[in-house]
Symmetry: none
DNA sequence: AATGAATGAGAGTTCATTCAT
DNA sequence: GATGAATGAACTCTCATTCAT
């Protein structure tokens, strides 16, 4: 991981990487491309990231972390599990919609590489998964969702559905807004859980 | 694509590729590895596939096609849309469960590569998507599913959910059977569509 | 080590390497330089040698082996230990004199690199050392050399002296012949051993 | 060469370099390694040495100079050429024995590098060579050594023998003392010269 | 059709050196 | 003098692909 993030250059390189990787794909992105876009020498990249893969992983870790933190804050004071789900979906969609380049990297480029990368990424996703599961569990306990709802599969449905929708959206560069569909998707999920 | 499939070598190479790619990942798989496993010279691979990527795409096309054909046959004479969904889920799970190596390649290796590959693969997936959508549409028309159900998103939920479940299953090498969950998953989906 | 020496290309590359390394030094020699001189593509070098270092080590192993074999043959039928020494010195000098480029590589480039290389080379030199020691020991046993002669140090003196002379000769590109000094050097050594 | 030796840092860096280079070899030694060991910033190294090679050369020059000065002093008041040789051998062995790290650098690392380095080092070695030759010449003139002794080759034998012995000793990390062999070696050399 | 030796383009990474502070 | 972040040139090795046999 990055040696030092306090430095502005870390973020310059990270954002340059998102931009380039979104356009060219990870395997077609040269470290020099990223360095050029970030306005640094290619050697400088290695002062902040240990190698090319580390850049990709860092994007995931940092952006996912930012997102999960925001989502948690937004839900903190909500009580109704259905409302929580809705807000979570909204945030998920909005985060992707606001930064389609990041979305593209997260939805496609991060799915690929080596098993090594996949493992590291899964580790960070698990955090998000746990968060979703807690909301669903809360709903079950509060009697809002079916008593016999399988929380594990409910979460897989939640994430799988959102992920597929975002993937297609990013892939086809749809001109509609993800966030406009929050209610539709939320409605289907809640019915599934009831 | 392959020049000639009548030859047995085509399938030998294809299956060798699935085996090796599942173990090493596409980017770590050398054409020579596949050739060795298939018992042919590496040059011979190029008599059947135009390049390394073509092998990957061929896996998708051929296996997906095999699968969709089988699934269509299985559903042909069923009338009840709910039953159709259930059979489809069962087939999806069973196909993956029966050949976990293929599943691994389809779920992970095929998600990655270049945009080029992604485009070609999407094209073939669309066939499967259309098939799912037809079943759902049929259900709506027959009044089994909600009149105002958004078929597009319903299909995304269907595929997204199954895909996520299979991915996690493959990834974590779970010791339970996917097919044992057919009813659970089918139940949630049908509720979502109602 | 080389995969296959039966091929003519192995020797082409080996000799090209001696030529280039003698002129530029190992660290300034690029694999492509060697490949170009040998008239092959740079990738071809790696069909015969596992890496750049392997070329250097192979030079040592093959040439030293050639030399030791020749020297052993030349001495085989000689009885007089003094005469043996003389012939050995003559052969050592002649081998170096005949191929000054090889001499340069052996005397300088092979002394340097990593400890790893040094270890491998020592291993092969030991064969030569043993050979020298046997001759000296034979002389002691035959009463030609001093009864209390320390064979180990006598051998070090033998090799050290020849090595230093050849090194300086190669280094200064002297215009005299090493072989003209065989008698002088042999005389000093025999006196030392008496 | 060094800009300024009055500073203690010069020696700190020099000794750190001997330590690191002895362990890792010149080519595997990073300037930063040396700087770290010396407790300075890597940029500071360049206030005392013009570049990495200069450190290596400086080790040679300074340590060889120290050695030659000491050896000259020790011999100054001796008259007997044989005794002089003995003392010289003793000093040579002792110097190496006392600082095996330095010995390792002098015996191996300094043999390698570029021709450029080799040239500079030879220049400083020549001083030592001249010194040895003078002793031998003195012996010839005093009738202690053979009238027709070739001083040049006698010196090569002297240095070559000592050098080989030290090299093997350093290389094999022998547990015996070099200085214990002074008489043995001196005896052989004197016989050779007689 | 089959072979496999030969090809050579291609890029990640290191690290000696610089220089603004 | 001291620092250490930034620089960017340099190079080995891999491996998909070709093609003469």
């Amino acid at each position: 991981m990055a040696k030092d993030r306090s430095d502005d250059k870390f973020n310059k390189i990270l954002n340059a990487a998102i931009h380039i990787i979104a356009r060219k794909g990870f395997h077609n992105t040269k470290v020099k491309d990223i360095a050029d876009k970030a306005g640094v020498a290619s050697g400088t990249v290695y002062n902040y990231f240990s190698n090319k893969e580390d850049i990709l992983i860092s994007i995931m870790i940092i952006k996912l972390n930012e997102y999960v933190t925001k989502a948690k804050n937004a839900i903190e004071e909500i009580d109704d599990p259905k409302e929580k789900l809705k807000i979570l979906i909204h945030h998920h969609f909005e985060a992707m919609q606001t930064n389609p380049e990041l979305a593209l990297v997260l939805q496609f480029e991060l799915r690929q590489p080596t098993k090594d990368i996949r493992d590291k990424i899964r580790k960070y996703l698990r955090e998000y998964f746990k968060f979703i599961e807690e909301i669903i569990k809360d709903g079950v306990e509060k009697g809002v969702f079916a008593k016999d709802l399988n929380v594990y599969f409910a979460r897989e449905m939640f994430f799988g559905t959102l992920d597929e929708i975002v993937s297609t959206w990013v892939y086809t560069k749809k001109d509609w807004l993800l966030t406009d569909q929050t209610d539709t998707i939320c409605g289907m999920l809640i019915k599934a859980y009831s």
